[in-house]
């Protein structure tokens, strides 16, 4: 892929990921538990990871976290997002390389570890150990449920993305 083409794709996908994060804030969640969210922007990160490569997915993920923290969340939210995104990416990257795991399994693992990353930050911010432990099982289950949904959406999107992104 030529350099200028790459820059263009980075721009489009980063913008899309940021937009997804914004759209998500407008969808009210049915459960009032901090940390439960759909993870729409993970669709874009998954597509970049599978169609372009692990370095490209990482770059888009970092840009998304930094920009959406600046635009919508403020500095405190930045650490939560960064920890979640980093941990989920570390888990998703090797899984995406495996032939035995489909994009759905990758998405589920990513969703769960995103939530675990956020709990780790909450653990530091709130300065209390046991409090946030209570949230781990709840957020793991929510990560699994949303991960399956996001994985399915990505699976159908990837057919088109693969066709249109010229390598």
């Amino acid at each position: 892929m030529s350099k200028s083409r790459k820059v263009a794709y980075y721009g489009i996908l980063s913008a899309l990921a940021i937009l997804m994060g914004y759209v998500e804030t407008m969808i009210p969640m049915p459960v009032p538990i901090p940390g439960v969210k759909i993870g729409l922007s993970n669709i874009v990160v998954l597509l970049a990871l599978y169609v372009m490569g692990s370095k490209d997915g990482f770059a888009i993920s970092v840009v998304r976290v930094a920009v959406s923290a600046l635009l919508f969340k403020g500095f405190a939210g930045f650490w939560y997002s960064l920890a979640g995104a980093a941990l989920s990416y570390i888990v998703m990257m090797p899984l995406s390389k495996s032939k035995k795991v489909s994009i759905i399994g990758t998405s589920v693992a990513g969703g769960v570890f995103h939530n675990i990353g956020q709990i780790i930050v909450a653990w530091f911010v709130l300065g209390r150990g046991v409090v946030v432990l209570y949230l781990i099982p709840v957020l793991m289950v929510s990560g699994i449920v949303t991960g399956i949904g996001i994985g399915l959406v990505s699976k159908y999107c990837i057919v088109y993305t693969d066709r249109h992104i010229i390598k």
């Binding site: 035995k100 709130l126 209390r128 699994i144 399956i148």
Partner: protein, 120 residues
Amino acid sequence: MKKLDFVIILVLLALAAVMYTTVLKPGKGGAVAVVYIDGEKEAEFPLDEDIEKTFSTKYGTNTIKIENGEVSMESADCPDQICVNHKPISKENESIICLPHKFVVEIEGGEKSDVDAIAK
């Protein structure tokens, strides 16, 4: 979906179930609601006494309410209102967290009783 996808989902579900059973124990007699603000222990209330108390800090105002052995967030002036919408808590280690105000209410069990835990 491939076979390993199901394995991943099942393993994570099992982990969540294990965490749930080990972290969340049934409530025992003599449990207290402990309020932490910014990680510092602020106050402690026994669960068997009905009370309503307001905490004002530099982060904002939160009002907790204890009724019928359950703690709930009566009101708060935080932007997201997640803590107010949270269901009332009564079991050990359950908590209501108001992130914008760094405000945490947690149930801490009084005396430990293994018999009760098993019987339940």
